[in-house]
Amino acid sequence: MKDWLCKNDQPLMLPIQRIEDEAEGVKTYYFSHRLNSRPGQFVMMWIPRLNEKPFSIAYDTGEEFGLAIAAIGPFTQRLAAMKVGDRVGIRGPYGKPFTIVDNAKHVVMVGGGYGVAPLATFAEQLRTKSSKIHFINGARSEHKLLFRDRLAKLDAETYYTTDDGSFGEKGRVTAPLERILKTGSVDFVYTCGPEMMEKAVFDLAEKYNVPSQISIERYMKCGYGICGACSVDGTGQPVCCDGPVVTNEQARTIREFGVHHRKGSGRKEMFA
């Protein structure tokens, strides 16, 4: 009767199976473990006696999963110094994933940075439903573009944009997005990446009355809706459980989307 009392979220100590270079400063760490994740979900990674951080899942084949991580802070730098066979704690997967919407035959995915990975996994799954996919990958410049090899293998129409024009179209992801939306044939938009990019994508989709799903990332401590760090203004819901992927209807009611987020202490910080 009280099955829920048996719930707990102990991290599994998993050895790093292999490490692959993804781009400058970015490595993917693979673990052989059946995570059973869905695209858009995340895990918590624990380095004992250091810290624990959320990471979105870049790859999940069923037999193994991979996390693409840039060495930018004390945690990720320590990780970057680890070798195959070293163990880290993993718990999850957590959160709501991207979902396939009935009748969506023609979709656009817009990814930036690490946000490209969950969308690529999702696109691989959608392909089996014979949908037409446009995939837009944008970054500041060529060396910041992630997962180009992976997108090349995808049966999708791909577009690249860079702010400085070093690769693909010069400018923002919104330019090709608007061209595609103007055709009037798009059923659905999915986006994952830096928040201001997501906001611009969401606004465009709204303008063309196309429903969308957006992954909203916030500071997270527990991953299961207890600590309150990731509660968003407007709905008050913690996005670790009631997200990170939200629908456009939800995004409309999340007042802080594209405006501010909160630090670990709970203090607000505006998006630049």
Partner: protein, 304 residues
């Protein structure tokens, strides 16, 4: 139909379930969401004078039959928090402030600067077991400290004042008598117990970054129940029972022992935010079967 409404030190509650401090409750909108899910009132995350980052993660961990946390009082500090917790009418139920301090002077500062009359009451927490400088680690769990802190806050606010005590501070009866004598209007019993330790043996390391953490959830419930019983025999002011309440039956047990309302924290981990509705439904169903008509009839009928 069971009448679930109750009163606590002048606060009118639509039902006796109250969100405990530190579980969600970091923002005004999160309180609104919790009340929308059925809580009769809510307590905000504890606020200190200075902004605090809290302990590094992991700072919470589910264990068999319970839960451990060492959040370390992360909060935005009194000024930003005062702004956060404004417009509280929108929340739709009484909002109880929660304040912490390193000593009686800091509690006094918080009472003077942080509290506003938008709050329905204030809970002063003297009982955290895992944050150096605060609570039991700062020696606040003695009758003398309790008296001094209660007195300093009392001088500075007209809000109903609740003192939140530790299950590890003994003799608990003397502690709550000191609070009552200095003008407290209610007792919140209890905070987490311990601290405790759990290791991950593969990692050869404690599961919580801080190393030790307060224990909550079902493991705490019998201890909390005994504290409520002790307190009920020691003071006249009402008690908010807290510690492992997970079902309607647990809430009824605490009320029968003398609690006038119950707070709910860890149960949200097990049952989600629907837990408030589950608990009030389970209470109603049981009371109907047993011939009660109001939750108020439960209070203290089986004190031990």
């Amino acid at each position: 139909m069971i009448d679930l409404s109750t009163e606590f030190a002048g606060l009118k509650l639509a039902n006796p379930t109250v969100l405990a401090s530190g579980i969600l409750g970091v923002t005004r909108d999160s309180l609104k969401y919790v009340v929308h899910q059925g809580a009769g009132a809510c307590v905000i995350k504890s606020i200190s004078k200075e902004e605090r980052k809290g302990h590094d993660a992991p700072n919470m961990h589910g264990i068999e039959g319970g839960f451990m946390n060492a959040v370390g009082y992360s909060n935005a500090g009194w000024k930003a928090s005062k702004e956060e917790f404004s417009g509280l009418k929108e929340v739709g139920a009484p909002v109880i402030a929660s304040i912490i301090g390193k000593d009686a002077q800091e509690f006094a500062f918080m009472a003077e600067h942080f509290l506003s009359d938008e709050f329905a009451a204030v809970e002063a927490v003297l009982s955290c077991p895992h944050t150096p400088g605060y609570g039991t680690l700062a020696g606040q769990g003695t009758p003398e400290s309790t008296a001094e802190i209660t007195r300093e806050i009392r001088k500075r606010t007209k809000l109903p004042l609740f003192i939140k005590v530790s299950p590890d501070s003994q003799p608990i009866g003397e502690i709550v008598k000191a609070a009552e004598a200095e003008g407290a209007d209610g007792i919140t019993a209890v905070n987490t117990m311990g601290p405790g330790i759990q290791l991950n043996i593969e990692a050869r390391a404690p599961v919580l970054h801080f190393g030790r953490g307060g224990v909550s959830g079902p493991a705490l419930r019998p201890i909390a129940a005994r504290c409520i019983s002790d307190i009920y025999q020691s003071v006249k002011i009402p008690i908010m029972g807290v510690g492992g309440v997970t079902t309607g039956h647990d809430a009824i047990e605490f009320m029968m022992l003398g609690a006038s309302a119950v707070q709910i924290g860890t149960a949200i981990y097990y049952r989600g935010l629907d837990v408030f509705r589950h608990i009030t439904d389970e209470m109603s169903e049981w009371m109907e079967r047993e011939g009660f008509s109001s939750v108020k009839e439960l209070i203290g009928i089986a004190h031990v």
